[in-house]
């Protein structure tokens, strides 16, 4: 059996019917189908980079709302919505505002649908967020969105060589950080 059957998340790879690198993808696919296909992946990305399960859904929703407004003009919606999400997730002030909005909902009895991460995994994402901004974005896109170097390059507007370098440095720095803090639980 080929490795293809064992592929897991991989948004661009799994959804072969819509190639996010296809310039016509936005026009060919309706917004609803795009939303249903991408929403969970974008919430995961927002959660990884913001560290806030309260704000993650609102960060993603705001990115999709912007995508909806500009739908006719967006040529690569998957890359576009990821780019907006990684930018918004890193803005502390905006995150606090969204958390305040989520807390209001919480007081009205509507808690977040995003579940708490196990501590061992939460530590990994804390370490990712502590990296320099570009490194954390590249690592999150690579591992959370399962994006290729080309796709990360497209989403962040970086040269592919830069993406590879940031990935390498980010992994190295993470290995040191997690090992130093005794958090790299080797099996």
């Amino acid at each position: 059996m080929s490795g293809e059957w064992q592929r897991t998340v991989g948004v661009p790879a799994v959804h072969a019917g819509v190639d996010p690198l296809d310039p016509a993808a936005g026009a060919a696919e309706g917004f609803e189908a795009f939303y249903v296909r991408e929403y969970h992946a974008v919430v995961r990305l927002a959660y990884a980079l913001s560290g806030s399960r309260l704000a993650a859904e609102d960060i993603a929703q705001d990115a999709f709302l912007r995508a909806f407004r500009d739908w006719d003009h967006i040529r690569q919606p998957s890359a576009w919505v990821r780019k907006v999400t990684v930018r918004r997730a890193g803005r502390t002030v905006q995150r606090r505002l969204l958390e305040a909005r989520a807390l209001t909902r919480l007081l009205n009895g509507r808690g977040p649908a995003v579940a708490e991460l196990p501590e061992q995994d939460a530590q990994v994402w804390r370490a990712v967020r502590a990296l320099p901004r570009r490194q954390s974005q590249v690592i999150a896109l690579r591992y959370v969105a399962d994006a290729s170097v080309a796709e990360i390059s497209q989403a962040l507007g970086l040269a592919e060589g830069t993406v590879k370098a940031q990935l390498h440095r980010g992994r190295q720095a993470l290995a040191v950080r997690l090992a130093t803090s005794g958090e790299d639980h080797r099996d």
Binding site: M1, E4, W5, Q6, R7, T8, V9, A13, V14, H15, A16, G17, V18, G30, F31, E32, A33, Y35, V36, R37, Y39, H40, A41, V43, R44, Y47, A48, R53, A56, E57, Q61, F64, L65, F68, W71, D72, A113, V114, A115, E116, L117, P118, D121, V124, W125, V128, I139, Y143, V144, D146, R171, L174, A175, L178, D184, H185, R186
Partner: protein
């Protein structure tokens, strides 16, 4: 090592968002958009009346949240015949020149002439038949309560074999040279139609769902394992294909695709059986609390019935165009009478056939 750690942490993230209802969020986004549109329109009217009106109209005409109808929608499916079957019809299938309907009380299988809608005969089967599969030389009947699969010979309309299946049988499919039965005990049993015996039992994991045969392989919904199981008939080997937020519900094959009536997110998932990759997720119209239930492919379309938990909700039949992956028609089959028990659906002989306990009938629809 760090790569493995990151992948494990990414897996935890994936699980953390499983409880997020994407359709509810899509509706919320639509509401936000409408509120903003109203505000924008009011502000714009205050500024420049004529231009603002034009702007609002333009926004509405291109609103993708409201759904974009196809350029030339087909005529809607319409009910042409209702054949009364008052003793709890449960399942329906087409094959060997007939429409076959299983009923729950008494436990019979009716053979119906598709041209006239007249019943030809009825055959007593073990209790309680919940699923049918018809081929050229056999009609197979799944009876979970009895723990068996029965075989009817369509040439004589006689029950010719009853095959015990261990492990609480729950799903049935025919193809790739065998009859396949999913069980609640987490297996798929393989029946050899030449000997009418179970010749293999393949462990697949907890609570397997729907079952079908596509592109020469057997596919089974495995919600507990996060996707689909693919069984190679040559060696009865199982491979699990991960599909995010899938797959719990009925399966069907046709139009070069595998279709999943996915109750987990309320969509119809289209899978390429050659690669196991998701080709599309078809958003089904949300009407009250309806969820996709049964799915069948035939008469140039994919047909999906709905299930709702509440009494009095509609029994819906959605038509999905396999070329565009869009719902092109919704037929209301009438309110549910008790318990929201949904319909089974079959296609063939120029018609779509819907049967259901709540309907007390077999409904023949003319495809659009």
């Amino acid at each position: 090592m760090i790569d493995e750690r990151l992948r494990r942490a990414a897996g935890a993230l994936e699980r953390s968002v499983e409880g997020v209802d994407v359709l509810e969020r899509l509706e919320a986004l639509g509401r936000r958009r409408r509120r903003q549109r109203t505000t924008t329109a009011v502000l714009a009217v205050a500024a420049v009346l004529g231009g603002a009106v034009l702007g609002v109209r333009t926004l509405r005409s291109t609103d993708p949240v409201a759904g974009t109808p196809p350029a030339a929608p087909p005529a809607p499916a319409r009910v042409v015949t209702t054949i009364p079957i008052t003793n709890r019809p449960i399942a329906v299938a087409t094959g060997d020149g007939a429409v076959w309907v299983a009923t729950g009380n008494p436990t019979w299988v009716y053979r119906i002439d598709p041209a006239t809608g007249q019943g030809i005969t009825s055959i007593a089967v073990p209790p309680v038949p919940t699923s049918l599969a018809a081929t050229q030389d056999a009609v197979w009947v799944l009876s979970p309560e009895d723990g068996s699969v029965s075989r009817i010979d369509p040439a004589t309309n006689q029950l010719v074999a009853t095959i015990p299946v261990e492990g609480k049988p729950s799903g049935l499919a025919v193809g790739a040279g065998a009859v396949w039965v999913a069980t609640q005990d987490g297996t798929v049993a393989r029946i050899d139609p030449a000997s009418d015996r179970v010749v293999a039992t393949i462990p697949v994991g907890q609570a397997p769902g729907g079952l079908t045969v596509a592109s020469g392989a057997v596919w089974v919904a495995l919600p507990e394992r996060g996707g689909l199981g693919r069984i190679e008939p040559a060696g009865n080997r199982l491979t699990v294909v991960r599909v995010p937020r899938c797959c719990d519900g009925a399966l069907a094959a046709g139009e070069q695709a595998l279709w999943v009536a996915n109750t987990l997110d309320g969509t119809l998932v289209r899978v390429d059986p050659a690669t196991g990759q998701v080709a599309a997720r078809v958003l089904l119209p949300r009407n009250t609390d309806q969820r996709p239930h049964q799915v069948v492919v035939g008469e140039g379309a994919v047909w999906v019935t709905s299930a709702g938990a509440g009494r009095g909700t509609a029994n819906l039949l959605w038509r999905v165009d396999p070329a565009s992956n869009q719902v092109t028609d919704t037929t209301d089959l009438g309110p549910t009478a008790a318990g929201g028990i949904p319909n089974d659906v079959a296609a063939g002989y120029g018609a779509v056939w819907a049967a259901g306990t709540d309907l007390d009938s077999l409904t023949r629809l003319q495809p659009g």
